[in-house]
Amino acid sequence: MAFTEEMVVEKKRWLTKTEFLEEWAVAQTMPGAPVMNLSIMIGSRHFGVNGALAGLTGVLILPLILVFILVGTFAYFGRDPHLVGALEGMGAVSAGLLIATGVKLIKPLRANPLGHPLCLLLGTACFSLIALAHYPLATVLLALGPLACGIVYWKFILISRGK
């Protein structure tokens, strides 16, 4: 995830941060791994089915090789404490990468039609339900998603009537 954001937004500049966030929202709410979905979306928009397949392959192949190497190393050396420690260290960095990507994506929320207080409220609610209360992701998405989208939709309607 962190690598995808870095590549798509910061290096290749295929999407702006705001666009990335919006596409990510769609990718995250559909079945399947979000990173896979996102690569299908970007690939298919420009090159149809082939693009989707290329994106999907691209996002899977290197990590797949890496995990097979890791599992092979594990099988070969057994449950050596150094290896277990190395995995814990990598896990901690991976966790940090995820959080950092989330932090980087806070900025584009400034232009969100929900406004700052509501964004903060919804974000805090989502964070607490998942990280502190350990609710399943699907439940949280179902509870907060329709509420947030409903409010935005209602605001859009009000704006269009105001014109």
Partner: protein, 188 residues
């Protein structure tokens, strides 16, 4: 050891789960655990846990743990070629159904990107998915560690966040450094 018909059952099961895994596959772990271990005894508990931990620690999509489960189950034959095939088969069983569904969804969304509903959906979900990312990071940090009071673990997590947000140091390098720090026994 799994028979051929076991494999067919298993792959069908993963394909079905694929369509129900909103928000990624980690929510499926309890169900897969129950199916593979409690019901069928196809894999040992430690193999299962190792697969999940390895997939989470590495930077790719977490669903790769399905490939590792398949690898472990097929490796019972003692043949590395079959193990690789088993791993790929499990991964494909999961990837294909949700990807086909999403391909059509993505096209639909692109076609209707100017409709109010699609715009409202994207804008409304944005703050939620941002919070979700941060929450996933916190959950991941506590998942295989010893919990909330392990200060050295949190120091690494916090430093990583700071470095990634503030500097341009390559993330793969950070991952490598994290692995080295862990190997030195900092977390034990």
């Amino acid at each position: 050891m799994l028979s051929l018909s076991n494999w067919v059952d298993l792959l069908l099961h993963f394909s079905m789960l694929s369509l129900f895994s909103v928000g990624g596959p980690m929510g499926l772990i309890p169900d897969i655990h129950r199916y593979l271990i409690t019901e069928h005894h196809w894999i040992s508990n430690s193999q299962f846990t190792d697969s999940v931990v390895i997939a989470q620690a590495s930077p790719g999509p977490n669903i790769l743990f399905l490939a590792l489960l398949g690898w472990n189950m097929a490796l019972q034959t003692g043949n590395y070629g079959l193990a690789l095939a088993g791993g790929m088969a499990c991964l494909f069983a999961y990837v294909v159904p949700s990807s086909i569904l999403f391909y059509f969804t993505a096209n639909w969304v692109e076609k209707n990107k100017d409709s109010l509903l699609v715009k409202a959906f994207k804008a409304g979900m944005s703050p939620i998915v941002v919070a979700l990312l941060i929450a996933s990071g916190v959950v991941l940090a506590t998942a295989n560690g010893k919990g909330h009071d392990d200060w050295s673990l949190w120091a690494v997590v916090g430093l990583t966040v700071l470095i990634v947000v503030r500097t341009k140091i390559p993330m793969l390098l950070l991952l490598f450094i994290g692995g080295c720090i862990g190997a030195l026994g900092v977390f034990s």
